[in-house]
Subunit: 444 residues, 2 copies
């Protein structure tokens, strides 16, 4: 019989609700998997098995008592360690925050708990969710990076330690590690998930996202969504994702294959895999070229990141000395040199580019594009290049990475689908269609 | 019998709806008043009597035809010349925009037309709604400034040329000229009125506001309110103002008399008048001191203005040479020197200060404070000092100036009431109560 740790989150929640599985048994199975794999993968920044089991037993009692159960009742979730938890440390990937204990749960953690989830532990993040790597390794080959900055969450899900984990993306920190680790990564539309209690890097760009092994599990992100009255940018309020995404598309979805102005930065393996994919898709995908102005997106995102991260992380650099990485110090210094009007001009380009993409979304259900430049690079000194995410993050569009391809080393290559802002449900439905098409069968 | 030009907008709309007055007669009366006073006051940047009369006759035909009438049917309104009108020039107070013809009406102009208003003409603004004065004079004494930047709108209403006019405020451009001209100026909460089609100065601070001779007329600003799907900051959606504001307060309102950290910049006449007012109010007002951190507000507003106005008006300076004022060139240069993180830090203080003020609004219905440093200064070289508006504009709070006091030269001194964000209706109701209290009778 299946090891409970290998169940999808949805299947596990169903089995627990049906009395076929207890949360305690599921959490034990996850802890056993972690015990077996953690030395090789190093996904966790904080883990307290006893506390997780106590939460699990409380979930089992809720069911035994006939109380109403949330959609995630008894299901363990991993939390990226830039997301505040009141009962576990939150160290932001920096020695400067060693032992830091937030006073309150982040909105997303509170919402997970309300949905019945067990907060299993905190996962490794790069320093301040920027480039300086943590110790996590790629479960497919520990000599390779898992990607970043949500390194631990991606690796934990890929290693079967947990079915669902939270990450964040300011440039490419969900989509890229999902691609490298061969799992599903979903970054909802900007404004869908309130970021209260999540380390603020660049509020114009910061998104919370999720990692899962199935598209359906990724849609569980719906329990995180909706305004919280604190994050003023969290204004989207779309209906439940699950119902729409599991419906059959009324017509065959049409996909715009977009190589983007950074196509040259993709490796030959990516060029080859996408050529094959395009051929397989045939009439379901048309190649679409973006107008020249889109070439500026990487630079505009960089300017917004530098300015806003200087504002929000500058205090760490000022007091941190050699306890902050050179990469962060450099970014803060760059941001401090950027004149305010140049920052505002860069930020204003988001609306211009979104307008240009809206014209494409009038004709296509989703864009299809690489999730990363190629397979996960060898070595742990770098978390890889987020450049295939920058444009979509800058525009705040919903994006999902699907583990549909692989490269010459046998490592995963993600396919990224991008949808129009606010229409996450259709994007996920299209993703299901694509996965079924490529796999020649359903995706669940 | 009353000259129709002296009617309030509400009284005029009622008389037109009742068939006791025609819009054509009202507009003619306004044009006659303008003909008599314009040489002395110089409030208008563009005026075409024939076009106004044609609109008036269309309004009269609407009524004659039994068609539904808007709340402003047949009532003429003046429009500050930074607000786009498709059928009249919009020159932004700059020779660089001489003869400029926008392609579309601003949202507020479209909404006025939908409410049945006659767009009488465009009123003089300072250059780009900043400090460099236009030619308008104070109707109470043409040797004095009317204030700015909404100089023409304030002067036109004060001179009885029109009962209602639109202005804008990025620092003190509605409240200050209303104070100097002895009329009601109302700047709604940030986000209440969409600014699409209004010259963008500093989008974090730009507000549309109105001038009127009664508080009830000022509440007609409700026809301008609500999101328009274009201005992303226009998110407030409160119910109709008029019903609440004309109700009787359930208990006697309590006012917090706030001298603000800039009290020393008020002239002796203002100190004296507010001491008298405080004494008259007795137990209805308590003096409240703001915490020290509020002293920074003027500087933070200045930083946000410099950064955002550099971004939005820099192109005028770059191509304008000596056709832009030194004051604007200096502002743009200052903004270009401001580092982006310093701008972001200044902007973030808005939330901090609003939080501090919320504690005061828990105990008081409104703050009461000077609208300007004193009477309108002599001379036309300056439009006076907006410093008593800066804090409230920075925080985006609704504010209204009431012509309740006067100074040693017999010129008006406004009393400014400020309310909590989004509760404009209560602010206007409190304003009516205060006006009745001071005048010893109703305000209409």
């Amino acid at each position: 019989m299946t090891n409970p740790a290998d169940l999808s989150a949805i299947a596990a929640a169903r089995a627990i609700a049906a009395g076929e599985l207890t949360s305690a048994r599921l959490v034990s199975a996850c802890l056993e998997r972690i015990a077996a794999e953690e030395e090789r993968v190093q996904a966790w920044a904080f883990l307290d098995g006893d506390r997780a089991l106590a939460q699990a037993r409380a979930c089992d009692q809720r069911r035994a008592g006939g109380l109403p159960l949330g959609p995630l009742n008894g299901v363990p979730v991993g939390i990226k360690d830039i997301i505040d938890t009141a009962d576990m440390p939150t160290e932001n990937g920096s020695v400067l925050d060693a032992g830091r204990r937030p006073r309150a749960d982040a909105t997303v953690v509170r919402r997970l708990k309300n949905a019945g989830a067990v907060i299993l532990g905190k996962t490794v993040t790069t320093e301040f969710a920027y480039y300086h790597p943590g110790r996590t390794r790629n479960p497919h080959d520990p000599a390779h990076t898992p990607g970043g900055s949500s390194s631990g969450s991606a690796a934990a899900v890929a290693a079967g330690m947990v079915a669902l984990a939270l990450g964040s993306q300011t440039n490419g920190s969900v989509i890229r590690p999902a691609s490298f680790c061969g799992i599903v990564g979903y970054k909802p539309s900007f404004g869908a998930i309130a970021r209260t209690g999540v380390l603020t890097l660049a509020p114009s760009l910061d998104h919370v996202g999720v990692f899962a092994r199935t598209i359906e599990d990724a849609a569980l992100a719906e329990v995180l969504m909706g305004p919280d009255g604190v994050d003023g940018d969290a204004r989207l309020n779309f209906g439940p994702l699950m119902a729409t995404m599991t419906s059959t598309p009324p017509v065959t979805p049409s996909l715009a294959l977009v190589k983007t102005p950074v196509w040259d930065r993709a490796l030959p393996e990516t060029h080859a895999a996408f050529a094959e994919l395009a051929e397989a898709l045939g009439e379901a995908a048309d190649e679409v070229e973006l107008p020249d102005e889109f070439a500026g997106a990487t630079g505009w995102l960089g300017a917004v990141m530098a300015a806003e991260m200087s504002r929000n992380l500058g205090h760490y650099v000022d007091r941190g000395g050699d306890r902050v990485s050179a990469r962060i110090a450099e970014l803060v210094a760059d941001g401090r040199k950027l004149p305010a009007p140049a920052y505002l001009a860069a930020r204003d380009m988001r609306g211009v580019l979104r307008g240009g993409l809206d014209a494409i979304f009038g004709r296509f259900d989703a864009l299809i594009t690489p999730a990363a430049t190629g397979e996960a690079p060898e070595g742990l000194d770098s978390t890889g290049d987020p450049v295939f995410c920058s444009l979509w993050t800058f525009c705040g569009l919903p994006a999902i990475s699907l583990p549909l391809l692989s490269g010459p080393k046998g490592l995963p290559l993600g396919v990224q689908l991008v949808g129009p802002h606010g229409d996450d449900a259709r994007l996920l439905r299209t993703a299901r269609w694509l996965a079924a098409f490529v796999n020649g069968a359903g995706s669940d």
